[in-house]
């Protein structure tokens, strides 16, 4: 089986859309991993947290690895506090 890598640059103005639409579509269609580039995202809110939880759930069901790239330490700490870091991979 061949795996494919998908890449989404997260727009800080449209994080929810990116997670709930684009990322979900990629996870549904990918066979390897999906990388979400957070390099432009400075902060996340409760809704984004919820969307990330859902995305992690979907990725788990579909055995797709979701890689978060360039997550700043503040966001990483939020994910750590919510025990979400174990559900994603991280890339600097």
């Amino acid at each position: 089986m061949t795996s494919t890598a998908e890449w989404i640059k997260i727009d800080p103005e449209r994080i929810l859309h990116a997670l709930q639409q684009e990322a979900v579509d990629k996870v549904n269609s990918a066979q390897g991993e999906v990388t979400l580039d957070f390099s432009s995202v400075l902060r996340i809110d409760s809704n984004v947290v919820g969307a990330m939880e859902q995305l992690a759930g979907l990725a788990g069901q579909r055995s797709v690895k979701v890689v978060l790239r360039a997550v700043n330490v503040d966001i990483y700490k939020v994910l750590k506090l919510l025990k979400l870091t174990q559900r994603f991979s991280f890339l600097t």
Binding site: R43, S46, N47, V49, V78
Partner: protein, 882 residues
Amino acid sequence: MTENVSSLSDDRIAYLEGLVRRGRTAAAVFTQFSQQDVDRIVKAIVLAGLDQAQYLARLAIEETRLGVLEDKAIKNMVATEFVYNYIKDKPSVGVIREFPERGLVEVAEPIGLIFSLIPVTNPTSTVLFKCIMAIKTRNAVVFAPHPKAWHCCQEAIRIMYESAVEHGAPEGVFTCVESPTIPDNNYLMRHKEVKLIDATGGPGAVKAAYSSGKPALGVGPGNTPVYLEKTAHLDMAVVDIITSKTFDNGTICASEQTVVIDDEIYSLAIRKFADLGAHICSEKETEILGRMVIDPDTGFMRPMAVGQKATDIARACGLRVKPDTKLLVAPIQGVGREYPLSVEKLFPVLSVYRATSVDEALRVCVDVNHAGGLGHTAVIFSRDDEIIRTFSEAINAGRIIVNSPGSIGALGGVYNDMVPTFSFGCGTGGGNSTTDNVSLYHYLNIKRVARRTQAHMWFRVPNQIYFNMNAVENLRHFPSQSTLIVTNPLLEQMGHVDIVRRFIPAQTPVRVLAIPDAEPEVKVVMQGVEALNLHRADQIIALGGGSVIDAAKLMKLKYESPEADLEELAAPFLDIRKRVVQYPTEKINRVRMIAIPTTSGTGSEVTPFAVLIDKERGRKVTLADYSLSPDVAIVDPQFVMSMPRNLTADTGIDCLTHALEAGVSIHASPYTDSNAMQAIRLAFKYLPIAYENPRDEEARSMMHNAACIAALAFSNCSVGVNHALAHAFGARFGVGHGRANALMLPHVIAYNASVPTKFMPSPNQRGYIAHKKYAMIADLLGLAGDTVAEKVKSLVSATEQLLDRLEIPRSIADLGISKEEFERAMPDLAKVAFDDPSWRSNPRMPLVSELVELFWSAYRGRSPANLGSVSEQATTKEWASV
């Protein structure tokens, strides 16, 4: 408690879990907020709360039927405006405090999700206060208001929440448990995502919080004693007490409960209470009141009276009072169950007690304090600072309010500069962990960032050191009314004393005290003190080796400060700056001490140490303090020209050991290094010459200087494990100190140069450097080697060669000590060496097993075992950075 939790339905648990999930997410998201974000939201919610202060007060009154509308509105305003005023400029995100001079920085870390109980007595104000604290500290809160105040609290939470979220706070930052029950509370208190419980409530709720196993803030019950002392400003005191006790109908737990009034002002005070609207109860009325408002079975107030008006309480009790009565004042004759009104009364009933003395007044206040109010609040009205101080010491209360109203005073920020709060910590007396007014700092984990600091160092030496041949002539410069020369009989016979006397100004009366040539005992010291006293001496000249000079130091100490306890002053210490026992600074006599050494080894002429023999206990103690250092040292080689060869060798090696150990000491500094290195250089060069040609004046002079210079170094950075081993071995087998040092020296160099099993904590050094410093010494001596390890090996070899040249036995076995005897002694040797303070400045912390290994290494002699384990790659460049 577990049964309570198990009674929750699945739906209810799911509901509670939902609250926790929202709060937990909000708390996590909140961690990203900046100080500016937080302060913006805080200001917005403060204004929102302030705007609705009266509305929320009305809701609270309508729902709880407790208190006074106007007062509740004021409380809401204090909870917002006053609290804001206190916190607005206080940092609560990131770095919150800096102490640059201590290298300390405090950094705030939010707690996370807080579960908060709200009382029925102060519902909306407590909600407002806690919301502001939570936002300021980036925490989320799940509130559980008292069921009888749920609606007003829920509305207060809604107002604060909507304002907070509108201004950017995370959704879910505040939630409120709908119709909370005890099982709900217990479930949430034990929830793993709840990080802190803030239990402002009754004793049951507080106890449950503390029993949950979670960190908790809790208040305790109050029973505020008030001492109205005869010097008080009476008009002010009576108005303050009425203001406080009637404020919100007495619902604030810090309000006055029993006023103890001095007999001299009792009648006048009671009349003033009556004039200002209080009803003074008769004995019969007091009895009725006590029975009606206090439950005789429990001894606690009845809920029906809490927060009610004085007139309503009077009516309910069948007492006839004027319609404008503010307060019921009930005289009592004691404290305890037989005096029901001596307990906490959260309503406008005030008990008063007439005290016939200050002592009685204080005793009754203590009784009230202990009758349910430990750790909470106490009040005193007085203009006598001494009585205020005595009261403060006698009463166990987190807040002792002076000349102001108890309830409003305890809240802080109005009548005093205490921290504004709606939650009073009551310390252990109230079963709490703090006596503070709970505030923003209790809602934070405060992280301390501690930068490495360097201990302040010093380099202390005697004021004057004269050296070179005939330096003794400088005695001429020291006028004295009476001089005592302390020496030993041999030196007297050798004519050394006569030489000294020759240079003491002719008119000076001089007496000579010849003491045994051995480490001094207390009785010898006291002989000297007696002589000093007899002759009213103002100068001691110590002429001799280390023992004589040490004895003279202690004579001086006891002569100047007779109360000095030598036994106590010998108490061990780790750091001389932090020692427990301090040397006396008060002196009844003043005496100048001049030390003239007659050996070239101990350096006692400049050191702050003195060794004393305790014959009764069979031990040797070392006293150390810079006040023991002689005032003047005269290092004149003429007194060592006739020193025997073996003594020259042994004392010379003692000098070399001092310098080598000072060189690698963890307290070494550039100041001590300069002395240590020079002493090492001089000893290696001149000791063999002085040994082989005792009349060589230059060699004698240089070795005499070397001993003094080495002592200047180790006086300021101490010695090391070599001395610990030598002290133990020398004492056990009667081997002289210098020789014992010599037997250990090559092995200790090898040991210190190898990688330590345990590093010695040494804040002033960057990394382990002992081996590099040995390499530096090797270079100074011009020894062979390219790497540090090679240079260390060369230094060990050079030391061994020096010992051979001095004809010093190279192993303990060579001394004729059998292996069996040494083996038998080993447990004691190791113990004594480990107890010896000398090694505490050694670069390597010795394990007891390592001390044993070192002893055996010295027993076998030659070829130190540890050599070669230092980094072979370390180069000369490395030590250059030391």
